[in-house]
């Protein structure tokens, strides 16, 4: 059994490495690794049913992802996001700290709703970046701020894909995570914003406004706020009157909130185009989740998942505490969301067995993972950041180096949450 599972792991690693060497994308490399492992396990046959079945593993999460991003894109296209940014700048341009505070809150929203840091970068990242640069913050610091805030927004509740995937794999309810995730992600985002952006000047209002896109004239807080209110109402209605409201589900809630955004938009939106572009832009992320499901199924089938789980749960806790801050981001950079079910699930199991508070521990891990989205080979959010901001500096020497201190801070705080999970159990809720 050990040899067989070890062999499968080796096949996965070698196939993945070879595929990457031949410049295949992470998704296709992972798919090839899964197929190769499946064939070796089945003694030459292709376990077709398992490959197809695995693709269903995160189907519901994918739908949340797609509909939430559609909602955010509608707000962007209707001019709602530009409106909010301009209002923040106009209202708080004389009080720098308040301005930074509200810009951070704005940065946290898209990722919190969609679970994707890339969504933050794509919807509000550029606009906030423009404002920050007119506050005298250097280009590399702006990029670092946008990345950390985007990563923290992905970690922020209600949708944290890593926590959701790891919880689902451990038969653990995704309930009670709201508060710990909010505390951790807010600490990380605000630290990054104020540490990197504290020094500077007040916004050069006129210049900033000139550069920011002009929202339609009729745009106002009601038109921006009502879609959010609809979303919050639907979520709360399901909790407050659960027995007299139908089962709507998060994806349809986002669709209904989107409908309100369309109806309230001051300009006519090309819905089909936006919907098509949304799905198109999400293909890499949805694609990797589908492929990860396939890989996980083959690993479960062949015992490779069990071997990894066994390896993780038999490690002493102190080893984990002293290495997870490195292992989690690096593995995220390598495998993206695949790490949540692969490493997260056995870790949850171990933490449960050791009497730790699994919700706090998983929350801590689920904040460390997105930090790895700046690291190669995938670097999904990091790359999106430099592309969207048209960053001219060096990726590693300027961008990554500038982000290192806030990254370290987030990892330190999350590690402390991990170690003191029981003491922090009062945070569980929501």
């Amino acid at each position: 059994m050990y040899f067989h599972a070890g062999l499968i792991l080796a096949v996965i690693a070698v196939t993945f490495a070879v595929a990457k060497y031949f410049k295949l994308s992470v998704e296709l490399s992972m798919l090839l690794a899964a197929i190769a492992a499946g064939i070796v396990h089945a003694g030459g046959a292709i376990p077709v049913r398992h490959l197809v079945e695995g693709s269903f593993t995160y189907l519901d999460v994918c739908l949340i992802f797609i509909t939430a991003t559609f909602f955010m894109n509608l707000l962007k296209e209707s001019g709602g996001v530009a409106f909010m940014v301009r209002k923040i700048v106009i209202t708080f341009h004389k009080t720098r700290l308040l301005c930074l505070f509200f810009l951070t809150v704005l940065l946290l929203i898209p990722g919190a709703l969609t679970g994707s840091g890339a969504a933050t970068v794509l919807t509000v990242g550029t606009l906030v970046g423009t404002v920050l640069s007119y506050m005298g913050i250097s280009e590399k610091r702006v990029a670092a701020i946008i990345f950390i805030c985007a990563a923290m927004s992905a970690a922020a509740p209600p949708v944290n894909l890593w926590a959701m995937m790891a919880a689902a794999g451990s038969n653990m309810p995704y309930v009670g995570f709201f508060q710990p995730l909010l505390v951790l992600s807010a600490i990380g985002a605000f630290f990054a914003m104020f540490f990197l952006g504290a020094k500077g000047k007040n916004v050069e209002l006129e210049k900033a406004l000139k550069e920011l896109p002009e929202p339609p004239e009729k745009m106002n807080w009601l038109r921006v706020g009502i879609p959010f209110a609809v979303l919050i109402f639907l979520i709360m209605a399901g909790r407050i009157w659960p027995f007299s409201t139908p089962t709507i589900g998060l994806p349809l809630m986002f669709v209904l909130a989107s409908v309100s955004a369309i109806l309230l938009s001051p300009k006519k939106l090309q819905i089909l185009r936006i919907a098509t572009e949304t799905i198109h832009s999400l293909i890499p992320l949805v694609g990797i989740m589908i492929v990860v499901g396939i890989l996980i199924q083959v690993m479960a089938l062949s015992g490779a998942r069990g071997l990894i789980s066994l390896g993780v749960v038999t490690l002493p806790l102190w080893v984990l505490f002293s290495t997870l801050f490195l292992i989690l981001p690096v593995s995220e950079g390598l495998l993206q969301y695949a790490v949540a079910p692969l490493l997260g699930v056995p870790l949850i199991l171990l933490f449960n067995m050791k009497g730790m508070n699994a919700i706090i521990a998983l929350s801590a891990m689920a904040v460390m993972w997105p930090i790895g989205d700046i690291l190669p080979p995938t670097a999904v959010v990091g790359r999106a950041t430099v592309m969207e901001l048209k960053f001219k500096g060096h990726y590693y020497k300027d961008f990554l180096k500038t982000a290192l201190i806030p990254m370290g801070f987030v990892l330190l705080v999350a590690t402390l949450f991990l170690i003191f999970s029981n003491e922090l159990s009062f945070l569980v809720g929501g």
């Binding site: 519901d60 589900g249 071997l307 067995m353």
Partner: protein, 388 residues
């Protein structure tokens, strides 16, 4: 790449995906529609449908059979259900063994073999479960569907943002709206799994069930294992059964149903009806996350090196060695525990006895194998064959 080559790659990849979809699709379709044969045993006096107790389920996938074994002699009424969680096969195998063998000398026994049909007709993505398992019998192999813990999304889609149990209001994971043992006591206008629980509560109330037993299995990493979980109304019986079984047949624990944990049968059936509710857990290494190769062999033998290793590190709540936890041991445990509980029920409640005969105890099941007790459908009259 030229446009022509690109087109070829597109067509080939689409063709390969289409072939995969056809191959897998046929397997999924067959699995969802596979019918297990049940031969009506000598004691079965009536077979009803769940929809007889709740009309809206009529014709739905969860309209399962309700087998009634009536002695004709006044006594108590017991209700036994399997496949609350169809990934725990000892439950439905034990329930079917009772249907095909039990005769009653006193009282009535009601049995549902596949309580959550929908969940028994879907396998879990990401976990690589086999679609079927076969049990050796003296007349050949008998094939069963391997199911999931949750009802199929084909019968219940979408899941809520968070599942709120009715009527307790307790928050549970979103997918637990499809978990038959988190949706008790059910809701008439809820999703299909909640409706199914509601129908079962109607069975309990309309048939005047005195004692209700829900058969389960659990991973060894889970603390509630090899035990009898009892509502406070049945704590004395469960405690006594645990003591007697441990001293005579095998070690089994007893736990109180937590009063604040809602949605589970051992809590809600007892709270919302006159019945005493009890849940049995047997060890199933197949469900452990650290398990090795996931296949039918592991499911039926319960032998796994990785799980044994986890035990050596003190990470399990039940012992395991290279002999594993074979299905016959698990079914045998359930048989003896159910029989012991019914015996004690009779002792504690004179006049309400449920006296069961011709059901094997632990030693016999282990010695002869579970399949020994299944009847050959090819030798049965057509009208005696039912389908699950």
């Amino acid at each position: 790449m030229t446009d022509r080559n690109l087109l070829i790659v597109k067509l080939v990849s689409l063709a390969l995906v289409a072939v995969a979809l056809v191959i897998a699709g046929i397997q999924f379709h067959d699995h969802r529609n596979y019918q297990e044969e049940v031969v009506k045993g000598p004691g079965v006096t009536q077979v009803k449908k769940l929809s007889d107790y709740f009309e809206p389920l009529k014709g739905s996938i969860n309209d399962c059979n309700i087998y009634i074994i009536d002695s004709g002699v006044p006594g108590g009424t017991a209700f036994l259900i399997g496949s609350s969680h169809p990934e725990e096969p000892a439950g439905n195998l034990t329930a079917q063994l009772f249907v095909e063998n039990a005769k009653l000398a006193k009282g009535r026994l009601i049995v549902a073999i596949r309580a959550n049909q929908s969940a028994s007709r879907v396998s879990r993505p990401g976990d690589a479960y086999p679609l079927y398992y076969t049990i050796e019998t003296p007349w050949g192999e008998k094939k069963f569907r391997m199911g999931d813990r949750w009802s199929s999304p084909l019968d219940s889609w979408p899941d809520p943002e968070v599942y709120v149990n009715y009527p307790s209001g307790q928050l549970l994971a979103y997918m637990d709206v499809r978990n038959f043992n988190r949706t008790w006591p059910g809701r008439a206008n809820g999703m299909i799994t909640e409706q199914t629980n509601y129908a079962f509560m109607n069975v309990i109330k309309e048939e005047g069930v005195d004692i209700f037993i829900d058969l389960h299995e659990a991973e060894l990493e889970y603390p509630v294992i090899s035990t009898i979980v009892a509502h406070q109304k049945g704590a004395d019986i469960a405690g006594m059964a645990s003591m007697l079984l441990t001293s005579t047949e095998f070690r089994i624990g007893m736990e109180y149903s937590p009063k604040s944990l809602h949605g589970l049968s051992h809590r809600e059936v007892g709270d919302h009806s006159d019945a005493v509710s009890i849940l049995l857990e047997a060890p199933e290494p197949f469900l452990d996350r650290v398990r090795g190769i996931t296949d039918e062999k592991l499911l039926l033998t319960g032998q796994d090196e990785f799980v044994v290793m986890a035990g050596k590190y003190g990470l399990l709540y039940e012992k395991i060695d290279e002999k594993g936890w074979p299905i016959d041991v698990r079914v045998g445990r359930h048989c003896s525990t159910v029989l012991m509980i019914f015996e004690l029920w009779g002792d504690f409640n004179p006049g309400k006895e449920v006296v069961i005969q011709q059901v094997p105890r632990y030693d016999e099941v282990v010695q002869n194998g579970t399949g020994y007790y299944f009847r050959d459908p090819s030798k049965a009259k057509t009208e005696d064959i039912y389908y699950e």
